[in-house]
């Protein structure tokens, strides 16, 4: 009864998946920038800055991403800013990602042995120099696997943008389902495409993690 062939469904889903990818990239880039800022605030040793970031992180980790999307979507409107679903989704996902990423990165910085700080001080390096030449290069290395791992959460998070009407992979899935009445097939395909996007990232994260562990043991 449906005029959609399987190929039509798949093609439409793949077209929509481009938006999933784009939104993911944007959220990842935005989240990284804001997250980096938060990370620096968090390790700045300035009490007020630390408190602000802690509260920020608590809020974004302690509320549903869906709520964050709704609030971005409707809240910005109140401020007189006309927001499309696309803008709201990009903003909410950016903030959401920044909270998690900064938390991950802070952990990486703090996981470095205290001796590194002490040794640097003995060498006469000041705080910024120690950061720049000793701590960050090391932290960066151990930060890569969990960061790649979190990118999977971002890709999956973009699916919620469908709820505020942004047409990406999941929304395309519900629309195609309404057109074809073949939910089993459509949502299986949707899941498969997400899986193909996420699984390589998961594996890469695991692989990098293992490589790092091996290198760490050798050192």
């Amino acid at each position: 009864m449906s005029q959609f062939t399987d190929w039509d469904i798949l093609r439409n889903l793949l077209l929509a998946a481009r938006w999933t990818i784009l939104l993911s990239l944007l959220a990842f880039a935005g989240g990284s920038i804001v997250g980096l800022l938060l990370t620096f605030m968090r390790i700045s040793r300035r009490k007020p800055l630390i408190w602000i970031t802690r509260i920020y992180i608590e809020i974004f980790q302690g509320t549903p991403l869906l709520m964050q999307l709704f609030i971005a979507f409707f809240g910005l409107g109140l401020l007189g800013i006309d927001v499309s679903a696309w803008t709201a989704a990009a903003l909410a996902l950016t903030l959401f990602s920044s909270a998690f990423l900064s938390d991950i990165w802070r952990g990486c910085v703090e996981s470095l042995p205290k001796g590194q700080w002490e040794a640097s001080r003995c060498l006469g390096l000041n705080y910024l120099q120690t950061m720049r030449y000793v701590i960050l290069p090391q932290a960066l290395r151990i930060a890569i696997p969990p960061t790649v791992g979190f990118s999977v959460q971002i890709v999956k998070g973009t699916a919620l943008a469908s709820i505020i009407g942004f047409v990406e992979l999941t929304k395309a899935g519900t629309m195609l389902n309404n057109a074809t009445f073949e939910p089993f097939k459509v949502f299986a395909m949707v899941a498969l495409i997400y899986f193909l996007l996420c699984y390589p990232l998961s594996r890469a994260s695991q692989y990098l993690e293992e490589k790092l562990n091996v290198a760490g043991k050798r050192a």
């Binding site: 509320t63 549903p64 709520m67 939910p183 949502f187």
Partner: protein, 224 residues
């Protein structure tokens, strides 16, 4: 900015909000309990002799962890009835939450189990315990304790994720907020209040879990 926030107008929908909150609590309790059981079974399957169970458990974990919860939910709620498996919204919501949590917990608990000192298992074998007894009595309790804080975090993540089941009309907290804002058009206020309630729930959950944990895992001398 000519807009004044109006929280007072929400008071009239207090009951809706509370019943939504209550539903979220119920969903969370049920899916947490079942999810932990599923996670334990999944982790047990990962070290089972039977290769089908081992690989099946691994595939389950990868499949769930690499797809969005909302797609899992839609697949269960819309897809399964299409092949004859029918259920209510609440059942579908709980099933999706349990399957999702179970996958993450399988992985978390497995990691805890992998850190079991080999000698403990050998000591237990030497004492004559069967494989099943060894898993339940020797391996699992300390492994669960080792990863307890990750388990708690994951349960909280799933509680927050339960907001998504509003999309299949389960009348929980997010559904309530949706309903209220559709009536009074105070979207921002409604969602903000709901978000605060989620924050509170997350806080309480951690508190309760920590309380349970410190009781269950106490290593103070026991009087007998």
């Amino acid at each position: 900015m000519g807009y004044e926030l109006n929280f007072g107008a929400l008071l009239e929908y207090q009951d809706v909000l509370l019943s939504g909150l209550w539903m979220t609590v119920k969903l969370t309790v049920v899916s947490t309990l079942l999810g932990i059981m599923l996670g334990i079974l999944g982790a047990a399957a990962r070290r089972h002799r039977n290769p089908f169970l081992r690989h099946g458990s691994k595939a389950y974990v990868e499949l769930i962890r690499n797809t969005p919860f909302i797609v899992q939910l839609f697949f269960i709620f819309f897809g399964l009835p299409a092949i004859g498996i029918k259920m209510t919204e609440v059942e579908a919501g709980i099933l999706a939450l349990v399957i999702n949590l179970g996958a993450y917990l399988t992985e978390i608990i497995r990691a805890g189990i992998d850190n079991t000192p080999k000698g403990q298992i050998e000591a237990a074998r030497t004492l004559g315990l069967s494989s099943r007894q060894i898993f339940i009595r020797i391996i699992l309790p300390p492994a669960f304790q080792r990863v307890y804080s990750s388990v708690v975090s994951q349960c909280i993540i799933v509680m927050l994720g339960s907001a998504v089941v509003s999309q299949i009309s389960v009348q929980e907290l997010t559904f309530a907020a949706n309903f209220i804002q559709s009536r009074n058009f105070l979207s921002f206020e409604s969602y903000l209040v709901a978000a605060l309630l989620y924050l509170l729930l997350a806080f309480l959950m951690r508190l309760i879990f920590n309380l349970i944990g410190s009781r269950a895992f106490s290593r103070e001398e026991k009087q007998s």
